[in-house]
Amino acid sequence: MQTANLLPLVLVLAVVAYGLAFMRSRAVAAPLGGIRNLKALPFYYAARAALWSAIPALVVLAAWAGFEGKVIQGIVIASLPQDVWPESAGQASLILSQISNVAAGKLNPDFVPEHIAGAAGLLETLREQSRTFKAILVLLIAVLGAAFAWSRVAPHINARESVERTLRRIFFVCAAVAVLTTVGIVFSVIFETVRFFGRVPITEFLFGTSWSPQTALRADQVGSDGAFGMIPLFTGTLLISAIALLVAVPVGLLSAIYLSEYATKRVRATVKPLMEMLAGVPTVVYGFFAALTVAPFIRDLAEMIGLEASSQSALAAGLVMGVMIIPFVSSLSDDVINAVPQTLRDGSLALGATQSETMKNVIFPAALPGIIGGILLAASRAIGETMIVVMAAGLAANLTANPLDSVTTVTVQIATLLVGDQEFDSAKTLSAFALGMMLFVVTLLLNVIALKIVRKYREQYD
């Protein structure tokens, strides 16, 4: 039976368990003189039965469904004759796809080697068996759980406490998913990164100035052995992020100042939501705008004043990214500026300072730590932004500081290396994970520092 069908079946069983336990608790209570003589309301006995029936069954179902594919593949591979055992993970996936294509009937078994056809048969049997066992096991557990809960419907047992305890644990597990996600991220990048550093020395990766991950198809190709120095990616990322921040920080900060200090309520009420719309626009839309409108415009403009600009200039990607993070900077600055106590403003105004003098000499310095925290968060956002650069920045890893040149970024490389068919196990694929690791570490550090600064700043005025 399919996982997709088992799931509703388990839920139906849970509902049945609920109903049965509900009736039984009433039946138990009747001779005692009504449900007031039970330790808990019938609802709780019933809910407990439903939980005990559904939760263990669902956990087993999820675990089985999660791992059955891998286990079956392992058995199938192991069943192959020794001499055709795959030497690499890439080869293994090739053989496996051949086997499953035969099993699915997409490939005529007569056209493939005998061992593949045999393995396909085995695959089919194993899948069949797995399905059967899974269904039996899961349903058995569901029924047993329900039966146990049903037998424990007794007036002296406080079902409410047990239901609440279970719920609390479920809630905890949900909160812990955040931790699991972080752990998952760390592990998913760390293994491949370690394998990558097994092939490419870490020093070359960190300090190399040439990046061309294309492993050669022909021996005479340029950079045929692949170069994995991340410096050009790093500088490219920095260049684009710096342009973005050069746009976003002054514009965001000044508009936040104007809105909080000068604008009337009506202006604020119209402008703020409009600015927030900028934050809601999907990044793919910005990418489209950067690649098809801004980049050609900049190229033409540069040509007009006699400069040479790439049609995938860093400037185009950076400018549009800057527009994207304007609302981010402005809303963070707004929070921070509003956190400066009114008494400081009054103190300065009462001395005869103008509003701009008050802003520049008192409020801005007082808010500076918070603003710096906000800028760091914006920087982390710029570094991690993917779609704009994938669409508007180039692929060539140029080591340059010229904003009219084309550069590439860490995120662009991750996306390009992992989109489409990958050669498993090649240094090229693994390098994407190493880049992901760098990206994760850098953005994490920026975030941690920024959040610390912002929190410290808030405490100062609370």
Partner: protein
């Protein structure tokens, strides 16, 4: 006792009757005491005043917070405003250097003259006004800068010192006048927020003095300070009265009695009585003043 809760205005507005849910044992029931609008007992006027205020009214949206107040503030006098909370004394004070401007819904009517210049005149510049009429706030509000920079802030923005040595002199003089010099002269570069509350408040006074204002407004300057710090600030106020006109809002009647020449008693937006301080505290003319200073409500 909270005045806002216990007192409600009579429905008939022309007859300014004040009612209260006063305890029955009170001898005088305040609902019997009448305040006549625009009528202030005592001596509200002076010859050649610094501030000449006539028929001042302040509105917060629809609410009339200050009701037809006329008052003169003489040169180099210390006048204190007293009254129960919510009576409008702070609002009135903040009219004198237009600190109410930043509140959108606040409107001020009437004639407010400083040295015969209308301070609410459309051509009147608030920056210049505030340079002449300084203010010290309830809570010490030093800027998060060094002690030196706090005091030097005003002179710097107004361009009062051409040379560094001039500025140093202004800072030293101001700190001396505020009685703070000896305490901080060795740590002028230390941040001001690290000082004690009393020191901070005196720093704020020094900051206000540094621009050489003619008038200093003080809005409950000691309410956040301990008794020793309060004593120092009060001493300072007495010394300053030789050079400056000082208007002080206070909650403490003892303080009013100690520092001020004249005392004005506010009640629900009315200016009830203005008199020599000794007279207000020994033989007030108005019943409301009497019941307030004898502590029957407040």
């Amino acid at each position: 006792m909270n005045m806002n809760e216990s007192i409600s205005r009579a429905a008939d507005n022309s007859d300014e009757t004040v009612m209260s849910a006063q305890e029955p044992e009170a001898e005088t029931r305040r609902e019997d005491i009448k305040v006549e609008e625009g009528k202030t007992v005592g001596v509200p006027y002076a010859d050649d005043p610094k501030f000449k205020l006539r028929n001042v009214e302040v509105f917060y949206g629809e609410d009339r917070a200050i009701k037809d107040i006329s008052l003169d503030i003489a040169r180099n006098e210390v006048i204190s405003f007293i009254g129960p909370s919510g009576c409008g004394k702070s609002t009135f004070l903040r009219c004198l250097n237009r600190m109410n401007d930043s509140i959108d819904i606040c409107r001020v009517k009437g004639q407010l003259m400083l040295d015969d210049e209308d301070i609410y005149h459309s051509k009147k510049d608030v920056v210049e006004l505030r340079a002449r009429v300084g203010m010290v706030f309830q809570k010490p509000n030093p800027f998060p800068k060094s002690i030196y920079d706090n005091v030097a802030y005003g002179p710097r923005i107004h361009g009062l010192a051409n040379r560094k040595s001039d500025l140093d002199e202004i800072v030293e003089n101001s700190l001396r006048k505020a009685g703070l010099w000896d305490e901080v002269k060795d740590r002028l570069d230390a941040t001001a927020t690290g000082m004690s509350g009393g020191q901070q408040q005196r720093l704020c006074i020094a900051r206000a003095i540094a621009v050489s204002p003619e008038v200093i407004l003080m809005d409950e300057p000691c309410s956040a300070l301990d008794p020793i710090a309060t004593a120092k600030v009060e001493e300072l106020i007495s010394e300053m009265s030789e050079t400056y006109t000082i208007v002080i809002v206070t909650h403490s009647m003892q303080q009013a009695a100690r520092v001020s020449h004249r005392t004005a008693y506010f009640h629900l937006g009315h200016l009830v009585e203005v008199n020599e301080t000794t007279k207000v505290f020994t033989s007030p003319e108005h019943e409301l003043t009497e019941s307030y200073i004898t502590g029957r409500f407040g």
